[in-house]
Every structure is written in C-alpha cells, then in structure tokens.
C-alpha cells in the first residue's frame, strides 16, 4: 500500500478516487441503500464486532419498550405501526437533484422524535432485518454494523439534536429540520467510518475516511437537507392535522 | 369521438396475478358508463390503466384519440380525473379549501382563477359551506363529496369513479348518483364508474360493462345486460331486486311481462296493466299525494 497516499501524487489520486466512487454510486439503482452496508462486505471479525456494539442498544430499547408497555398497554401496537410507517417512508423515492436519480430517506429522525431513540433502534433493527431478508438491502452479516449506523447513530443524534435545540429555544420546526439533517449525516458518517475501519488496511485511516466521506458528499449532502425538510414537513403536517396523536406517541416531550 | 378506447389489453401484476386478459372498453364523449363486477374482477386494475397508474403489458389505450403513452402528465390529467374509493386515501390537505385548490395550483393558474374554481366545484357538489372546515372533521359522505370536488377542479373531460357509493347510506348514495347524473347531463361530462352494486345503475348508466375475472362478459344498455340472468350470476352479481321480483313472476308463475322492468316506475306501470280495474279501490286517488 505504499505510494498511493504519498505526498506527491496525492491530489490527483484523490480526485480520481472521488470521481470513481461518486460516478459509480450515481449509477446505482438506489443510492441511499449504498448507506446500507451490503451483505458479505464486512470481514467476519468486523461483522461480529459491530454486532457486539449494536446488541446492548437494542436490548436497552427493548427494556424501555417493556417498561412503557406496562404503563401504557397501547404501546406495542403503536411502536409496531410507527415502525411500519417509517419503513414505508424510507422506501419512498425522493428526487435528489445532484445525483439525477431518486433516493430514499432514512426516516430515523422523525421516528426518534415520535417514539424516542431507544425504540427507534428497535424499530430500525427490525426494518433492517426485513430489508436484509426480503429486499437484499443491507445484510444479515452486516446487520450489526447497519444497526449501529442507521439505528444508533441516526436516532440518538437525531433525538439529541431535537432535545438540545428545543432546550435552546429553537422553534420546533427548525429543531425538527436539524434533527432530520443531522440524523441523516450521522448515519452516513458512521457508515463511512465502518467501511474505513474495515478497509483502510495499510493506508492511513483518516485519509480513507475523508475519502469515503467526500465520495458520498454529492448525494448525501442534499439528501440530508431533504431529510431535514421531510422531517420538519411531516411533523408539521401531523401537528396541524392531529396534534392529539403526537401526544399519544410522545417520547420526551416531543413536538 | 371516442373519449376512451381500450383494445385487447392484458395486465399482470408483478406476482403473476393476471388481472385483465384481453379487455376491450370503449366510451364515447358524454356517455355515462358503469363497469360492473364482483370483488377482484379487475375493475380497479382497469381504472389504474386508464389513468396511467399502471402500464398495460399488451394492447392499446387511447384517451381522447391519443395513445396514453404519448401524453404528458399534465395533458393526461386534464383529460381524466379519478375519484378513489376511500376518501381518506385521497384527501391530504388540512382544510377543504386547500385540498380542492391543490390541483388548480399545480396547474399554475392565477390565484383568482384557483379561488373561482374552488367556489364553482364546491357549489357543484353542494359542499360550499364546508369550505373552511378541517378535513378530518368531515363526515364520511362529506369527505366523499369533497374528494369529488378536488378532482372536478382539474376540469377533466372524463370523470372516473371507483365505487363512488361504497359506504354511503341510502340518502348519501342517492345524492351522489344525482350529482353524477347532473354532471353528465348538464355539463356533458363523460362519467365512468366502477361498482358492484346493481340497484341504482339502471336509472343512471347509459351502458354497462360486466367484468368477470379480468374479462368483459358482456356490454350494452342496462335493459339488455339484465336480461341475461345466467351471465349475471356467473359474474357473481345479481339482478336488481325489482327485476328479480318481475323475473320470478314471469319465469315461475307465468305472468306475461314484457321484457324485464329494471326500475320501480317500469315495474309499476306493467303491473298496473295486469291488475283489473275493478280490483283497484275507488276514491283512493284522493288519498294519494
């Protein structure tokens, strides 16, 4: 692995790699699912490691589910249905201007606002399992890694943003926008991190990380913004139409 | 001129269900046509093809004389409008006014024109007082009429409705059908409706297509269609109740009835001819309204 990242030819190599990755990514049938790490891509050791990271978060979410289900018997059907809705939203094609194709939102931001981050991890783990099994997006072996990126990073960052922004007195619509935006970017940063960790072999970690990050920029930067708009817009829609429903789902004083 | 011309259309869903197999379906401008068929006979699929939501595997579909594939979205949806069965799946704005204005605004009309259209169509469906109301506070019948208004606001030449009277009570059903009749007779709008309820149809539809398992069993004016009792049963339908009564009297009791009366008015006229004058109570005329 010598020579590639040596100073002299760094710039042109770097540009070439970015162009190559971005070019092929744009031609993918569903670029957003490039955010799911494909089945078989991670070496066994990494696959296991990410499982080990993911499982405590899922267990935490399940504990919360059990607890809130006892207070409020409605809760499991509610989580299941919100999960189904978020699954569908994440399957809806949205037009991404730069990629020239349609892409898909993650939906974790809005889910975290609705049912809280812990349960969003649970829902995301189920959605990812269904997608891995029946749609060949993501995979069973890479499930742990994908849960960490989509579920854990996405929902905790999204919910944290929402909470902090609300505490700081940011209007809810802006807070929702930020939550959607940052949850999407967090997912993408985490996925890039996971890919780098597995494949930087030999080359410098930070160089490869920034490389992958930048390669995804043309699609993920606007996609994050669209996700923010979606999150804010959908929340506004529900608030306008049926505010009482939000109270029902509310986690942590949502909306 | 043909408003709609469908010839030899086949359609198969991705999972292999053959929903339409060789359907011919023609509607002239200004007609009121009903597509009659049991659950799963392919009505909704046919409608999906007509409005371009589904693509036919083979066969030709022309709207107003032009191939459906050659029309832009804008041209197509000025020609055909679809009212869905469940208004809840169709109304997505917060208020009645916003929802009805959705289509005209997307046509980039000036705001006065948009408002004028909203007033016009809400008047047409007798829902003007609902203008400022929130959608989710409307009753089912009101929702149905508002969803019709939203489609009318696009001024489609052909209005297609999927089970317009499903879930409506008798009064709502009659009101909806009167409304459609008025649009058809007075505004010369072509109306196509899919349904499996047979009793109201004879009064309204010029022509009926009977659909069964993806095939057109028969088509023609309602008097003709309901003469074929076996065909009707094969399509898992039934005769209108009044016709059924007359059919049984004619067939099993040998009462001499001309053709097959479809409406209460026709049946009454025929029966009165059969009943001797002296049976009729004298002076009863005064009691009647």
């Amino acid at each position: 692995m010598d020579g590639i990242w040596t100073k002299k030819r760094y710039a042109s190599r770097f540009a070439a790699v970015v162009a190559a990755i971005a070019g092929v990514l744009a031609s993918l049938p569903a670029p957003a699912f490039a955010m799911h790490i494909s089945e078989g891509l991670l070496p066994a050791s990494w696959a296991v490691l990410w499982y080990v990271v993911a499982i405590p978060f899922v267990a935490l979410g399940l504990r919360e589910l059990q607890r809130r289900n006892e207070e409020f018997p409605y809760f499991k059907p509610l989580v299941g249905l919100v999960g189904a809705a978020v699954f569908l939203i994440s399957c809806m094609p949205i037009p991404v201007p730069t990629a020239g194709t349609c892409s898909h939102p993650c939906g974790t931001g809005i889910a975290a606002i609705l049912i809280g981050p812990g349960l969003t991890v649970v829902v995301a783990s189920i959605a990812l399992t269904l997608q891995a099994l029946f749609l060949a997006h993501g995979g069973l072996t890479t499930l742990g890694a994908n849960i960490v990126a989509m579920g854990v990073a996405g929902s905790y960052v999204g919910f944290g943003t929402w909470l902090i922004a609300r505490r700081l007195g940011v209007p809810w619509i802006a807070a929702a926008f930020l939550a959607g935006l940052l949850s999407d970017w967090a997912t993408y940063a985490m996925t890039s991190f996971e890919l780098t960790a597995a494949f930087h072999a030999g080359s410098s970690f930070s160089a490869m990380f920034s490389l992958i990050l930048i390669a995804f920029v043309p699609t993920q930067l606007p996609l994050g913004i669209l996700e923010g708009i979606l999150c804010a817009g959908a929340l506004r829609f529900v608030r306008n139409r049926k505010p009482e429903l939000l109270r029902m789902a509310a986690a942590g004083g949502a909306a | 001129m043909k408003a709609i011309a469908v010839t030899g259309v086949h359609f198969t869903y991705d999972d292999g269900t053959e929903a339409l197999s060789g359907v011919d379906f023609h509607v002239s401008e200004g007609e009121f046509v009903a597509v009659l068929g049991s659950n799963g006979s392919g009505k909704t699929t046919l409608i999906g093809l007509l409005v371009g939501l589904l693509k036919a595997k083979s066969g030709r579909i022309a709207i107003g004389g032009q191939e459906i594939g050659s029309l832009s979205a804008e041209e197509l949806y000025k020609r055909v409008g679809l009212v869905f069965q469940n208004p809840n799946d169709q109304l997505f704005a917060a208020t009645v006014e916003e929802d009805v204005a959705f289509g005209p605004r997307n046509l980039n009309l000036p705001e006065e024109e948009v408002q004028a259209r909203v007033t016009e169509v809400l008047t047409a469906v007798a829902a003007l007082p609902l203008r400022g109301r929130a959608i989710h506070h409307l009753s089912f019948g009101e929702q149905k009429r508002v969803s019709l208004a939203g489609v009318l606001a696009m001024r489609p030449a052909v209005l297609i409705l999927d089970e317009p009277t499903a879930g409506l009570d008798p009064a709502g059903e009659a009101q909806m059908m009167q409304l459609l009749k008025k649009l058809n007779r007075e505004e010369r709008m072509t109306v196509i409706l899919a349904t499996h309820s047979v009793d109201m149809l004879p009064l309204f539809a010029n022509r009926i297509y009977v659909l069964d398992r993806g095939r057109v069993l028969q088509q023609g004016p309602s008097e003709e269609i309901f003469c074929h009792q076996e065909m009707i049963v094969r399509a898992k339908l039934r005769l209108p109740y009044v016709s059924r009564l007359m059919y049984e009297m004619k067939r099993h009791d040998g009462v001499p009835i001309d053709g097959l009366p479809l409406t209460i008015g026709e049946a009454r006229a025929q029966l009165l001819e059969l009943i001797p004058k002296e049976m009729i109570l004298p002076g009863i005329e005064e009691i009647g309204p």
Partner: protein, 258 residues
C-alpha cells in the same frame, strides 16, 4: 420498490419450502460464515452458483432475481474497480484518461475479486432463503433462537401493517400524482412531506384500532405464541448433511489456501 416486497413464491409448495425454517436458517448461517471467512474466490462463487441454480430451478422470475441482485452487483463492480486501481504493488496494465494515470494492480484485483465474490455468495444465500421461507416462518424460527419476544411481536406487527399502510400510501401517492403533485421540484417536495405525514397519521390511527381489536380478543400486553413443533427427523438429517457439506468445503478451501 413496493412490488419487490413480494413473498408470493414462498407460498409455493416445493422441496425447499417444505423444510423446517429452523433448519434452513441454520444452514444459511453456516453458509454465510463459510463465505465470509473464505480466502479465495472459489468457495463464494460456488455458493453463488449453487444458489442461483436453485433459484432458477424454482422458476423464480428473472426480473425479480436481477432486481434483487442489482444493488449488490454494482457494489461488487465498485469494489473491484477501486481495489484494482488503488491497492497493491504489482502492476498489471496501465492507461491514461484525461491526464490521469491509472495502473491496475494484481493484489488489488485479487482483493477486489474476493470481496466481490463474498458479496455475491452471501447475497445469493439470503436471497434463496427469502424465496423459500415466508416471513412468519422465519419469525417462528427466530423464536427457537431465543430472539426477544418483544422484538418479535413488534416485528410481526410491523410486517403485517407494512402491507396495509402500503395500500393506503400507494393510493395517496397516486391521488397526488393525478392532481399533478409531482410535476415540479418544489411541489414534489411539498407533496412528499404531506405523503409522509399522512402515512404517520394513518399509522397512529391504525394503532388505536388495532389495539382495540387486540384487546377485545384478550390481549394483555403480550402476544401469545403457540408452541414450536419438534424438529422432524428429515429436517435434522438435511441440516446435518448440509452442515457437513459446508464445513468440508470450507476445510478443503483452507487446505488449498495453505
């Protein structure tokens, strides 16, 4: 997208759909591990070939196969290209495009090909599993693996109501399209948020009605599951044979790589 989420083939009756889902899951996991730990392309590609062959024998439409494999295949392409040109030392060939020099390297090509073969092999294993096992059978098998009951309960509800909501969402989206809601970018985004919002509203309302219905049939916060049937002799035999096959293939590969 929506149409792909179709499990109609899993309800066909064939030799593979008749096998107990637990057996199939164990075999699939073993195959995944073998593919993932393989050090040369042969084993993953063999698995890929076997799975694809089986899928073809089951007469799964080519359209579905290509649709499912499209994304993984393009990932494989990216991997091979990137690794070939940017890793390794031994040059294979070189060319210049628009002033940029590209040198393909042997190690990179090998590494890329291995990664690509693993992706293909493992994707095809899961694909085969998914066309011979309906979701509810997989959930049943999960129970045997001691997956949390709460997780399964949510999964079952989610799976079921994805189909219900999907019908409503499809109608909503069609209604918007028919009134020209997607003809310009700004409009499209507005329609899209309304669609997402409606989906959430529908889901929350449905949750209430579903819970009412569950309660009226005795639901007290936990979905009851029936007992799992014992694993049949035939299934145990099949599992054992397949495991032996996979393990020996893996050992064979190990021997060869050494």
């Amino acid at each position: 997208m929506f149409d792909l989420f179709s499990d109609i083939f899993t309800y066909r009756d064939n030799a593979l759909t008749r096998i107990d889902p637990r057996a199939k899951l164990v075999i699939a996991l073993a195959a995944l591990i073998a593919v993932l730990t393989a050090e040369r392309v042969v084993l993953p590609l063999c698995v890929f070939g076997v799975c694809l062959g089986t899928v073809a024998t089951l007469r799964i439409p080519a359209k579905l196969v290509t649709a499912r494999l499209a994304a993984p295949l393009s990932i494989v392409a990216v991997l091979v290209v990137i690794q070939t040109f940017f890793t390794g030392t031994t040059p294979l060939f070189a060319f210049t495009v628009a002033g940029w020099h590209f040198t393909a390297k042997a190690e990179g090509l090998r590494q890329g090909a291995l990664l690509g073969a693993r992706v293909l092999g493992s994707v095809s294993v899961v694909f085969l599993l998914s066309v011979v096992t309906p979701a509810h059978r997989i959930f049943q098998a999960f129970r045997w693996f001691r997956i949390s009951r709460n997780w399964l309960e949510i999964a079952i509800l989610m799976y079921r109501y994805i189909f219900v909501l999907m019908d409503q969402v499809a109608d909503l989206a069609a209604a918007q399209r028919l009134r020209l809601g997607y003809t310009a970018r700004g409009r499209a985004m507005r329609s899209f948020t309304a669609l997402a919002g409606s989906t959430i509203i529908h889901s929350l309302e449905q949750a209430k009605r579903t819970h009412d219905a569950m309660r009226l049939r005795g639901y007290r916060g936990t979905m009851p599951f029936g007992p799992l049937p014992a694993l049949g002799r035939r299934d145990r035999l099949i599992t054992a044979l397949c495991l032996i096959g996979i393990v020996s293939a893996r050992l064979l590969e190990w021997g060869v790589s050494k």
